[in-house]
């Protein structure tokens, strides 16, 4: 905790420019406000072929929506107020709000969200894992979609952990429905949900090696032959991305 705080990059202090005050929204966001996860290279997303177009050296960062600043608008602020102190970044994108939560706070946050009469997020739509291999130190994300049936509101919680220490506290105690969902996320991503009553594989066979939904796990497949030509499996084909 305290070590994390020491690592915070100080705000870059540039020279004062009058244009900044006049139109701050037109400025590029400072580096620590943009969530860049990896980079896209070249023009065509294909590697291994002779790209003679001259665009092969292009490097474009993959930038996810930047954290929002208060006020978030409407009831978003009510939820944020109730969770004050437990929240990391808050992202508002396409009308959906995402609260990034540190794993130590997750159970407390979920309990508050479920039990506070002003919040009442009594329904959890499970957990979805996402593997960002280029998000160094936060490779594995667990995403929870919560619904308040009382107030008809939806929010998203996101917890990220390093690949080297893939532990997240289980939410089965707060939302029993997460039992199978956490087993699936463990099965597919290798995220270990501490405190889960029986964290075993659920979709893959019990003795399966590896976690198939991780980006470093190959899709598999065999080349297909047709009239003398051979088409490689989908993950090895020349492709765009």
């Amino acid at each position: 905790m305290s070590e994390d705080q020491k690592d915070v990059i100080p705000e870059p202090k540039g020279p004062e420019q009058p244009a900044v005050e006049q139109s701050p929204e037109n400025l590029p966001a400072p580096p620590n406000e943009v969530t860049a996860v990896g980079a896209r290279t070249g023009m065509f997303g294909a590697s291994g072929t002779g790209d003679t177009s001259g665009y092969g050296g292009l490097v474009a960062p993959i930038v996810f929506p930047a954290p929002a600043k208060r006020p978030y608008g409407g009831w978003y602020d009510e939820v944020a107020d109730a969770l004050e102190g437990s929240l990391g970044n808050v992202v508002v994108h396409r009308g959906e709000i995402t609260f990034h939560v540190r794993r130590e706070e997750l159970v407390h946050v979920a309990q508050t969200l479920r039990d506070d009469p002003k919040l009442r997020f009594e329904f959890c739509a499970g957990v979805s894992g996402v593997h960002y291999p280029d998000d160094k130190g936060n490779e594995l994300h667990a995403v929870y979609h919560l619904l308040s049936m009382t107030h008809n509101r939806r929010i998203r919680l996101e917890v990220s952990v390093p690949d080297a220490d893939p532990h997240i506290p289980s939410l089965v105690g707060v939302y029993p429905t997460n039992d199978w969902h956490e087993r699936e996320t463990y099965d597919m991503f290798g995220i270990i949900f501490d405190g889960h009553p029986a964290l075993t594989r659920i979709l893959m066979p019990d003795d399966w090696p590896g976690h198939p939904q991780r980006k470093d796990y190959p899709l598999g497949g065999i080349p297909v032959e047709y009239k003398g030509g051979t088409i490689p499996p989908p993950d090895q084909r020349r492709s765009y991305n």
Partner: protein, 445 residues
């Protein structure tokens, strides 16, 4: 005891294990008679048992005929659809996700496409006709899905007539699907930006004829089952799960509404313009399998109401676009019925091959490379026949999904098996699971 090379008894560290495949139950009875001190047996039911609703494995611990513990073993139909979509374009994704819950393909396509459209920020640009067609197809699909639920549920308790008439009516819906999309299942018809093509000539007449016929046929189910003492004896009070249990387990759909709570995303968070249709959310208050059966019957009536209204609106939308106007997203290829069946429209081929080099390049780029979706994540849940179905989509700005996760209601609802069946009779396990209506394609994905 006769020796059978496929079925017999063997000693293991866990105790005596019997393998029976039917018509050889004597071997168990004789085997247990030898060791009558213990009534407790662990029965492995499935994954290929005809009464377990697909490839579901049930591990039941029984004492006499009472179930003391029930556990599900799933994963027998896991096909890695979520992983596969990461290696295809965003449009090709519909072809994959439609195969998840194979009894409600349009719902899978719709939630996926609504998510992609939200990430593309084109939700406001979807043509009205595309939304109405989506609603029409989803409600037809709800009827066909509920019919299968009722039909297989009936078959599992020995009501074979319910099965035959259920599949008879479902066939009519599949005929409509074939007419409109070209396929009975796995349509990939709802696409990001709209739907694949316009309604074929005569489709509205067929739909109206279907609605008229269903209004005659649906009362048959009520006559056959609603007050049937045998049917009621098997369903009344079975698979009991009250609102508290349903909420804790995150169960949605008919099981939630059978506790009396009128939660339906079509009303609470309308999508595809559901707020413009006149229909009621059906509830029941018995929390049991019989209530869920009656609820599904009632929901089919509501779906018929929506279909009538959608058909009415479509009649006034003849010739309107069914795909978003943005040519950077809309699928360029047009389909037409030729002498050898459905294929690329010859007019479109003539245009790109003979008239417009730019048209050809545009077609080629969109079909092979696809469109880019801005980075971010979206979750747009919809009310499928089984409950809240949602796709968690993550894009990294590429032409392919970074992550597609389906929150399938079958998967979540199946967790209710233990609480619904423990302490009851072994025969009621089948009824309880049938009332959840799990589809293993959706459970295992």
């Amino acid at each position: 005891m006769t020796q059978d090379m496929y079925a017999g008894a063997s000693e293991t560290s866990e105790g005596k294990v019997f393998t029976v495949t039917g018509q050889d139950w004597d071997s168990i009875v004789e085997g247990l008679a030898e060791d009558s001190s213990d009534e407790r047996i662990v029965v492995n039911m499935g994954p290929q048992h005809p009464s377990t609703h697909g490839v579901l494995r049930l591990i039941l611990e029984i004492e006499g005929e009472t179930v003391t513990e029930a556990r599900c073993g799933i994963g027998y139909l896991h096909t890695g659809i979520e992983k596969n979509t990461e290696y295809r374009s965003w449009v090709q994704g519909t072809t994959f996700v439609t195969r998840m819950d194979y009894l409600s393909p349009f719902f899978n396509e719709a939630t996926y496409c609504l998510g992609v459209e939200r990430l593309l920020d084109i939700e406001d640009q979807i043509p009205e006709k595309a939304s109405v067609m989506r609603v029409l197809l989803m409600e037809l699909n709800r009827i066909s899905s509920h019919l299968v639920c009722i039909a297989t549920g009936g078959m599992e308790i020995g009501a074979l007539t319910v099965m035959t008439i259920g599949f008879r009516e479902r066939e009519l819906v599949l005929d409509l699907f074939e007419l409109i999309t070209g396929l009975r299942m796995n349509h990939a018809f709802i696409r990001p930006g709209g739907v694949a093509q316009d309604l074929p000539p005569g489709a509205l007449d067929e739909i109206r004829a279907f609605v008229a016929l269903m209004k005659k046929r649906l009362p048959e189910y009520a006559d056959l089952c609603n007050a049937n003492p045998i049917f009621r004896a098997r369903l009344d009070g079975v698979g009991h799960l009250d609102l508290e249990g349903v909420m804790a387990l995150g169960i949605t759909g008919p099981v939630l509404r059978s506790t009396g709570y009128a939660w339906d995303l079509r009303k609470t968070e309308p999508y595809c313009g559901y707020e413009d249709y006149d229909f009621d959310v059906q509830t029941w208050d018995t929390c049991d399998a019989y209530g869920r059966f009656r609820l599904r019957l009632n929901e089919m009536w509501e779906s018929l109401k929506i279909i009538e209204q959608a058909a009415e609106r479509l009649a006034g939308l003849e010739g309107a676009p069914v795909m978003v106007a943005d040519k950077k997203i809309a699928w360029p290829s047009q389909l037409a019925i030729g002498s050898d069946g459905m294929g690329n429209s010859l007019d479109h081929i003539r245009h790109i091959m003979g008239e417009s080099m730019e048209g050809l390049i545009h077609h080629f780029k969109l079909v092979t490379e696809g469109f880019r979706v801005p980075p971010g994540q979206a979750y747009v849940p919809i009310e499928s026949p089984r409950g809240e179905l949602g796709a968690h989509l993550v894009s990294d700005g590429g032409t392919r999904p970074f992550r597609v996760h389906f929150r399938d209601p079958s998967f979540t609802n199946l967790q209710g098996t233990s609480v619904m069946s423990e302490g009851g009779m072994i025969a009621d396990v089948i009824v309880a699971i049938a009332s959840l209506d799990p589809v293993m394609g959706g459970v295992d994905r």
